[in-house]
Amino acid sequence: MNNLHTWAIIAVSALVTALLRFLPFLMFSDSEKTPRIIKKLNKTLPFAVMGMLVVYCFKDINFLSYTSFLPALIAGALVVGLYLWKRNTLISIASGTVCYMLLVQLIF
């Protein structure tokens, strides 16, 4: 493939990504004219979106195979449990990740 096409692919992908990020700000630049429904969304969306992102992270897990879902389930539970106990983001994330790596590398 020639060099020009490489540049073009990267440029198009970068532009579409940026467009998706900028679009809401371009559409609703004037807060006076922003529909009430969007203002409402802007308060409630973060909660729904984080739920969506968590599901997104687990999307490729096969729930019919325990070697696929057990490591994620155990490590995920550890993250939540530790967070409820210590309320410390770094402890939760570090412990959960080390636990997950050990499980997928050594056990499953």
Partner: protein
């Protein structure tokens, strides 16, 4: 400013671990497709979209048409539309830096910035947003460049390290759950996503899930 930098750095440590690991993986993949460190740097700098850059390697290798590239990018990254909608207020009246803040609004940066920040003085918030965004961006570039440079030299069994970003999202989700009395919105997000995942499959569920979430949130009563 120095204090804000410390706070921003501390808050981005999970992203540092995740981005170096995933950026590294991207660099290796890109290199194996025949594109060296320059391309890794350039793509991390200009696209700055984790999963999409992995997809882009496949598009580059197959010499995909530009229409295919545009449609694929749209499908993979459509969720970013939501990030903008919920940052409209936070990014209001913060000057020229706004352009960069919007450009660099990835999943992880959004997760770190979408909640209230009681530990940051109000006057320092714009600086804090900028620092978090720029630090995350630099981690990603660093990971990609190291991966393309040294990917084949470094032997380290990193299988599973991508879980660090999953863990980040889980803790933020848990924190939001604990700090709010109302859980309807969080539940809608999870249930709609799981249902769409079951119906549409893992490659196509995000856009239907976004539509369902937006519709349900719009038509629910004020109590959500």
């Amino acid at each position: 400013m120095k204090r804000t930098f410390k706070l921003a750095f501390k808050d981005t440590i999970p992203v540092l671990m995740g981005y170096i690991a995933l950026g590294f993986g991207f660099g290796i993949l890109l290199k194996s497709a025949g594109y060296g460190v320059f391309w890794a740097f350039f793509m991390c700098l200009t696209m700055y979209a984790g999963s999409m850059q992995y997809v882009a390697v496949a598009l580059l290798s197959s010499g995909a048409s530009l229409v295919t590239v545009a449609i694929t990018t749209f499908m993979v990254n459509a969720r970013h539309l939501f990030y903008g909608i919920s940052m409209l207020d936070k990014y209001k009246n913060i000057g020229k830096r706004k352009l960069y803040l919007i450009f660099s609004l990835t999943d992880e940066t959004y997760s770190l910035l979408c909640n209230e920040k009681p530990h940051i003085p109000k006057a320092e918030l714009p600086n804090y947003y900028l620092l978090v965004s720029a630090l995350n961006h630099s981690y990603w570039i660093l990971g990609g460049v190291i991966g393309a440079l040294a990917g084949t030299l470094i032997k380290f069994n990193s299988e599973g390290i991508e879980f660090v970003l999953t863990a980040l999202f889980i803790t933020i989700f848990t924190e939001q759950w604990l700090s709010n009395k109302k859980h309807a919105s969080a539940i809608i997000g999870v249930v709609a996503s799981v249902l769409c995942l079951v119906i549409f499959g893992s490659d196509n569920f995000l856009i239907p899930a976004m539509i369902v979430i937006a519709l349900v949130l719009c038509f629910c009563n004020e109590g959500v």
